[in-house]
């Protein structure tokens, strides 16, 4: 008798694999949400996006290769859905973003302090709202990379695979995106002062 015929044991083994996959995927949901929250423009969008991601992941679990990076696999689904669903609407127009040099934010904060600040304390001048709002102003192409690498702790390589862009592009967008973020933060701090 052929051993490849699907039988009760085969079905049971597949069910076990699927349950294991689902449990592993659910265990990553906090991390997936953290990234989704800032790839989306609102909490509601993020929640919907995460649900769609998991619904799709659970349906297509067989295409995941066990032992590979499940978190990156889930985020690949999520970023594709995010693009497909046209959620990449942005409050600010997609013009060339303002980008200052890397020391700009520190210099602006120091300037508004009127003295050489303590570099560990100066960051506390920024409120949580300042940061969340400044990040939401960063255009998506740049924000996606910042969110994956600086918030999601993905490697450049993983970010490149998730976004389907070359690793060099990940690096240059990250570099520019951080500068744009600092420029946005400096603008919000200066607004608070004036």
């Amino acid at each position: 008798m052929s051993e490849t015929t699907p039988d009760a044991r085969g079905i049971a083994a597949e069910a076990r694999d699927r349950v294991r996959f689902e449990e592993e995927a659910l265990a990553l949901s906090d991390q997936v949400y953290r990234v989704a929250r800032h790839l989306s423009n609102s909490r509601e969008d993020a929640e919907e996006l995460v649900q769609e991601t998991y619904a799709r992941a659970f349906r297509s679990w067989r295409s995941y290769t066990p032992g590979t990076n499940l978190r990156a696999w889930l985020l690949r689904i999520l970023t594709n859905l995010n693009i497909d669903r046209g959620r990449r609407t942005q409050r600010a127009p997609q013009t060339t973003p303002l980008e200052a040099n890397d020391y700009y934010l520190y210099d602006k904060l120091a300037e508004s302090d009127g003295s050489a600040p303590d570099e560990d304390r100066v960051v506390e001048r920024l409120s949580q709202d300042d940061i969340v709002s400044a990040l939401s102003e960063v255009p998506h192409d740049f924000r996606d990379v910042i969110v994956l690498v600086d918030i999601g702790d993905f490697s450049y390589q993983d970010a490149a695979q998730i976004l389907d862009i070359p690793i060099g592009t990940v690096m240059s967008r990250l570099h520019r995106g951080r500068r744009i973020l600092k420029r946005e933060l400096a603008d919000s701090v200066l607004e608070d002062v004036t």
Binding site: A15, R18, V19, E22, L26, S29, D30, Y33, R34, R37, H38, R43, E47, V50, Q51, Y54, A55, F58, R59, N101, D102, Y103, L105, Y106, A116, E119, D120, V122, V123, E124, L126, Q128, I131, V132, L135, D150, I151, M171, L174, H175, R178, L181, K182
Partner: protein, 80 residues
């Protein structure tokens, strides 16, 4: 004349992100650290950037709503 000789602080600024990302070559890292050892102005800005990165990560860390977790669990495909 290297770029470093022209404006060491501008060059140091260019190296800040790759330095903090640990992607400089060994020679570049040594060069950046040599400048940081003697330049308080740049050193303060590097430390600020390090604090900023940690601070941003903390500021945007929003816990997942408990209801969402339940909704995700409900999406699991039931066993036959």
């Amino acid at each position: 004349m290297t770029e470093l000789d022209k404006d060491p602080c501008a060059h140091c600024e260019e190296m800040m992100q790759p330095y903090l990302d640990h992607i400089l070559t060994e020679d570049e890292r040594v060069e950046a650290e040599a400048h940081l050892d003697e330049c308080d102005w740049c050193r303060r800005r590097y430390r600020f950037e390090e604090s900023l990165r940690v601070y941003v990560r903390q500021a945007v860390n929003e816990p997942m709503p408990a209801e969402l977790k339940q909704k995700l669990a409900a999406l699991r495909i039931p066993l036959n």
